[in-house]
Amino acid sequence: MAILIGKETRLITQGITGKAGLFHSQKCREYGTNVVGGVTPKKGGTTVDGFPVFNSVAESVKATGANASMIFVPAPFAADAILEAADAGVHLIVAITEGIPVMDMLKVHNYLKSKNCILIGPNCPGVTTAGVCKIGIAPGPIHSKGRIGIVSRSGTLTYEAVHQTTVAGLGQTTAVGIGGDPIHGLSHIDVVKMLNADPETEGIILIGEIGGSDEEIAAAWIKDNVKKPVVGFIAGASAPKGKRMGHAGAIIDGTSGTAEAKIKALKDAGVTVAATAAEIGAKMVQAMKAAGK
């Protein structure tokens, strides 16, 4: 089961003829993802390493039955690429691109309200259903099929959680990197709801960072709805106020978005909070044992 992606996923890559787009399309295919082609305007009709290239998303959907898209288009054009995928009827859009202006994402956010599709990202590592399907840039070999669902804003912290649960023998169902931008598609709460409803997922890891209030919103929902063990971690407790820590979303403005407030919200919701990123796996093992799993 897992969530979001699986055997039925048919993936196209927007920006497949770029260096990163091609490299990661190849890596996804190696992992087992059914990559059915790619899109680069004016390069339709050609192929690149066996992937058929189309001029538009609509053409590619018609020809291949694609139902998911992975976007590597450069930031100034990435918002339009998302809109194009939505218009073409692609159900799942994963935007890897970093550096998209907030105003462009507001436009996308409002446009997608009337569309029946799911956006992950932008500025995210993507989503992996362990052992089955991978969309994005996460290193495939660190995953192992198992019982834990993961949701995180940060790419490399997703890898940490995946790696630690693999080493601990728990494995993963699906790991979702939702991205570090202020305006994004799926939020923590959306993914937590999916993982909570997924029968294969027995435990949940939620990783957040300073800025915004995504984690607090998810915590409130967990408190009332989630019976599965949840382990949380918040990055940025030592970050100075008013400085943007790499991610556009990771900045403390005024008193909102502090690590302290987020950790408190998670603890209030009954979530086991890891003191450092290094103990996420160990805390999950403990929480699973305590839950008799």
Binding site: A20, H24, A75, P76, G99, I100, P101, V102, M103, L106, H109, N110, P125, I137, A138, P139, I142, S152, R153, S154, G155, T156, L157, Y159, E160, H163, G180, P182, I183, I207, E209, I210, G211, G212, S213, D214, I217, F233, A235, G236, A237, S238, A239, P240, K243, R244, M245, G246, H247, A248, G249, A250, G254, T255, A259, A275, T276, A277, A278, E279
Partner: protein
């Protein structure tokens, strides 16, 4: 990216908003021409700095004659302004705005920013202008009103009317206020703002509205299409931060003594946190990103090493897109050219981890390897605490 008051006001004025007339000067010699252009000999001299609290710090002064204007401008130019927001080091003043004095009857507050949770632009209004808005929000939250305009169209008349009523504006003033909101909303979107704050928006003696001061912050991701605002994207940055950005590195200098090189913003923050957890302090935030070249890695290492406070360095890489061997070669290359003055702890994991560890082993350099993030942070913190890193050469 932030704009100076004079740059922000030029944009407001161009949009047809009521802004006091003013001229910016960068040298004493420009004062006479500036005053002539304005047709006045009395007014206000305002030091241009990206900080609030300028008035209290002596950065805003009234002048009554052209001679006074010149003397004040000369005094302000080159001074280091220390406000409660700048920290003790202060900011150097390089421009002065000469402006007509305003006859202030009431001071209001209007800001436009993003409500992330609602994914909606929000107006924040208060009748308590001229104050620190965070204090107002904390002590008297009933004096703050948030308005959420609909996306993709003009501001609803009813929304503007609600705002005017809250601020006690009626008749012509309410009409003028609706126009201010509409124009600010448009500027906010067109200029890719993250914050557009008018504090204070004043009602003057004649009963008209005037935008007296402005904070104008632009989305870092949109700077490429907002160059004509005149903003300086390198303002407020440490020289080493500017150097780092040339190589696509995200670097922020901090006050601690453990230099950090990490890939990914989240992991970089988590690494800083873990160092703090073990009782030490990070000297910097550094995200080398996912696709840095060997050259960029070398540069990152040089920047960290050049910080005199650094007594130990922790490299923490979870290779995703970034293969560990590329990081390893970059670090080894940097150490070979610049020498290693402090202990270096290295933790590698992920893509090509085996090859990366081989590069480190074969380098013959005296590096300390760490098993995981926890082990790395603990080792670096111990090195600094025991003084092993101090003066080591």
């Amino acid at each position: 990216m932030k704009l100076h008051e004079y740059q922000a006001k030029a944009i407001l004025r161009q949009a047809g908003l009521p802004v006091p007339k003013g001229e910016v000067v960068f040298k004493g010699e420009e004062v006479a021409a500036g005053l002539a252009k304005l047709g006045m000999n009395s007014g206000v001299a305002k030091a241009q700095a990206y900080t609030g609290g300028r008035g209290k710090a002596g950065g805003i002064k009234l002048f009554k004659t052209a001679e006074e204007a010149l003397a004040l401008t000369k005094q302000l130019l080159g001074m280091t302004l220390v406000t409660k927001q700048t920290g003790p080091e202060g900011v150097k003043i390089e421009a002065v705005l000469l402006e007509e004095a305003s006859d202030i009857k009431r001071e209001l507050y209007v800001a436009v920013t993003l409500d992330r949770a609602k994914a909606n632009i929000v107006f924040i209004l208060s009748p308590e202008g001229g104050m620190d808005i965070e204090d107002v929000a904390e002590k008297t939250p009933e004096k703050i009103l948030k308005l959420y305009p609909a996306w993709g169209r003009n501001i609803d008349a009813s929304l503007a009317a609600q705002g005017a009523k809250f601020l006690g504006l009626e008749g012509e003033q309410a009409k003028a206020f609706a126009d201010v909101l509409e124009k600010l909303y448009r500027i906010y979107q067109e200029k890719d703002c993250t914050l557009l704050e008018i504090n204070p928006l004043v009602v003057n003696g004649a009963g008209a509205l005037s935008l007296l001061d402005c904070k104008f912050n632009i989305d870092e991701n949109a700077v490429y299409r907002q160059k004509d605002t005149g903003g300086d994207e390198n303002a407020e940055k440490d020289p080493s931060e500017i150097e780092a950005s040339k190589y696509g590195l995200s670097y922020i200098k901090l006050d601690g003594d453990i230099g950090c090189m990490v890939n990914g913003a989240g992991l970089a923050m988590a690494t800083m946190d873990t160092i703090a957890y073990y009782g030490a302090q990070p000297a910097n935030f550094l995200d080398v990103g996912g696709s840095a070249s060997e050259e960029a890695v070398t540069k990152a290492f040089e920047i960290i090493s050049s910080d005199k406070n650094v007594k130990a360095i922790l490299v923490n890489i979870f290779g995703g897109i970034m293969p560990c061997d590329r990081i390893a070669r970059g670090v080894v290359g940097a150490v070979k050219t610049t020498g290693l003055k402090v202990p270096l702890v290295v933790r590698l994991e992920g893509t090509n981890v085996k090859e990366g560890k081989e590069v480190i082993e074969q380098s013959g350099l005296n590096l300390i390897s760490a098993l995981d993030l926890d082990d790395g942070a603990k080792k670096a913190a111990q090195l600094v605490k025991t003084g092993a890193g101090k003066g080591a050469n």
